[in-house]
Each structure stands twice: as structure tokens, then as C-alpha cells.
Symmetry: C2
């Protein structure tokens, strides 16, 4: 399968989840939405949870792409900020991706196979955040730098997930979600570089 076809299927998967929720999710709806034969899906993605995990990874990759487009040549602090902020936006694709994640998180409480897929995708995303935190702050004051980066990455990604739920249920807007991320970065000493000496 071409990469374009694969991406088309995974984007269709996020769209189907965002439209109807996971409770009415059927692989054949994804095939129809993507305009491909239903037989392609098990062949390339295995079972339902294989497809769901690939769709989450694709949402993550999309957020990373947007972040790179936003902060490509800048330092790790700008890239970290862009990666976290890229989870919120007015683009329908951003909302679809966020809704798909949100649905899988909810379903995973009751479905061990979904929980395993979710845990793998979450670990990949949180690992990328942790890598940027270590680059942004290689010598945090006090403690083991690796443990400190791991803790910061958990706090930041869990905050994004919490804010995502608020945003998707209409309790806050994109700007408010982004401001909360900026506040968390600033308070953990991971804000944009110019904040470090208070000149911003």
C-alpha cells in the first residue's frame, strides 16, 4: 500500500471516530470513508486495535508535523511548546484527531486491548516530549535529570489530555487551552528561551 493510501485510511479512521464516537465504530465505515476495499484494512493493520493504534500514531505524527512547520529551526524550548500547542486548533483535522484520542482514552478504561494500544501511542508521544524537555533543560536544578524530564513530560502530556477534554466539551476555547500550556511551561522553567532571563 502506498503511504498516501495508508494516510488516507488513518485520516478516515480518525474522522469516523470523531463523527460517531467509538461506540459505533466499524472498520467497514473506515473503508467506505477512505474509498478502499474492506479487505485492505485487516491485511495492513491487523485487527480493530491495530487500526486504532495506527490512527493514534498518525494523529501524533500530524501534531509533530505541525509543530515542526511552526518551530522548525528554533531551539528545543520552541519545539516543545509548538508540539504541545499543536494539539489545539481551529482546523477540523486537529479537532478530529483530538476527539479520536479522547474516545480511545475513554474506551481503554473498559477494554484491555484498547488500553494496550493507547499505552503504546501515549508512551511514544510522551517520549518525544521527554526528549525535548531534556534538550531544553539538560541540567535541571536538583535531582536526576532523566527522572526530572520524565516527570515533566508526564505532567505536560497529562495536562494536554485534561485540557483537550475541556476543549472538546466546549468548556474552554483554543486560546485558553494554549495559555494554560504556556503557564505550565513557564512555571516549570521550560518556557521559550527569552523568558529565561526575564527579558520577554
Amino acid at each position: 500500500m502506498s503511504e498516501a493510501a495508508r494516510d488516507r485510511i488513518l485520516d478516515a479512521c480518525a474522522r469516523v471516530i470523531a463523527r460517531n464516537g467509538l461506540r459505533r465504530f466499524r472498520m467497514q465505515d473506515v473503508a467506505r470513508e477512505a474509498g478502499v476495499s474492506i479487505g485492505l484494512l485487516p491485511y495492513h493493520f491487523g485487527d480493530r486495535d491495530g487500526l486504532l493504534q495506527a490512527a493514534l500514531d498518525r494523529v501524533n505524527a500530524g501534531a509533530a508535523d505541525r509543530a515542526r512547520a511552526e518551530a522548525g529551526d528554533e531551539g528545543p524550548r520552541e519545539r516543545l511548546r509548538a508540539l504541545l500547542l499543536s494539539e489545539f486548533g481551529d482546523d477540523p483535522g486537529v479537532r478530529e484527531g483530538s476527539t479520536a484520542w479522547n474516545e480511545l482514552r475513554a474506551a481503554a478504561v473498559f477494554e484491555p486491548a484498547t488500553a494496550a494500544a493507547l499505552a503504546r501511542s501515549t508512551a511514544a508521544w510522551q517520549g518525544e516530549v521527554e526528549r525535548l524537555v531534556r534538550e531544553a533543560d539538560p541540567e535541571p536544578c536538583g535531582g536526576d535529570p532523566a527522572a526530572s524530564a520524565r516527570a515533566a513530560a508526564l505532567g505536560l502530556t497529562a495536562l494536554v489530555e485534561g485540557l483537550s477534554g475541556r476543549w472538546l466539551t466546549g468548556q474552554i476555547g483554543v486560546a485558553q487551552a494554549r495559555a494554560a500550556i504556556d503557564a505550565a511551561l513557564a512555571s516549570t522553567g521550560l518556557g521559550p528561551a527569552e523568558d529565561r532571563d526575564g527579558s520577554a
Copy 2:
């Protein structure tokens, strides 16, 4: 209806949601679980969303009770910490309450009436956190104290929600969730009083 009967129904409601998820939620299962007549529920709670909101408020009240038992006579910082930490625990009732919240947050993305109930319960909880933040830090450095407390309350409660999803899906344990809350409190200058001068 006696307060005890009301509490029994709302605890049964959280238990039913935690067992089967919201997708199979039926008011008659709540009545059966609580051992009351089905007719009582619409009479006292109105429709499904009225019952769900009352159940969320009851979960909140339970968390506030546990926090008071934990930090009753201590200062606002200890009470704030206890309130946030009380969302995570090994007691089955704590997990049931957290699961019910998690399910309602997920459903609210697709159901406007559930979103309205969720927003009211969330606002009440966040308002209590905001009140404690203002008591704990009446003069934050820089900016409007009210806006600052509101932003801190949003960040802290969204973090709790994100961590709750991680915990309920088995990605982190109670201790890790609590450590993340402590880290967020410390980095926003809202940690327990003895941290203020670095003596802890």
C-alpha cells in the same frame, strides 16, 4: 427522600457507570442497584442528565469530604493539596467516582445535554480549587490575583483530569498521579506551607 437514600442512589449511579460504562447506562439499573423503585429517580433527579449531574456532584462532595478528613485543621495549601490528591486512591469508591467522571467527559463530546451537566459540575469543583488557591496565595507575584487564581485552578483541575485518564487506563499508579500533582503545586508556588522558604 432522606439524605441517606439520596446518597445511596447516587453512589449506585457511579457504581453502575463504573461497571458498564455510560454506553449501557440505564436508570433502571441504578434503581435496582440502589434497591429503590424506578419511579423515585425521575421524581427526585429529573431526567438522565439530572441524575448524572447529581452523581458527579456527589463524587465531588465525597472528594471534598475525604480532603477535609485529611487536612481539616491545616492551612489552605494543605487543604488544596488534599482536595486534588483525593481524586486518586486505592479505595474502590474513589475509582468508581473517577470512572464516572471520565465516562461523562467522554460522552459530553457527543451529547450537548451531558456537556451542560458536566460543565456545571466541573465549574463547581474548579471554583472550590480556585477559592483555595486564592486563600493559599492571596498576592501572587505580578498580575491580577483573581485571574491568576482562575488560571491556576484551570491548570490544576485539567491536570487532575488528564492524570485520572492515565490512572484509570493503568498507565500510571496512584503514587505517580499524586507525585505529579505535588510537582505542579510546587512549581506554581502552591506547595505545602513549609516549602515556601525551602525548609522542607
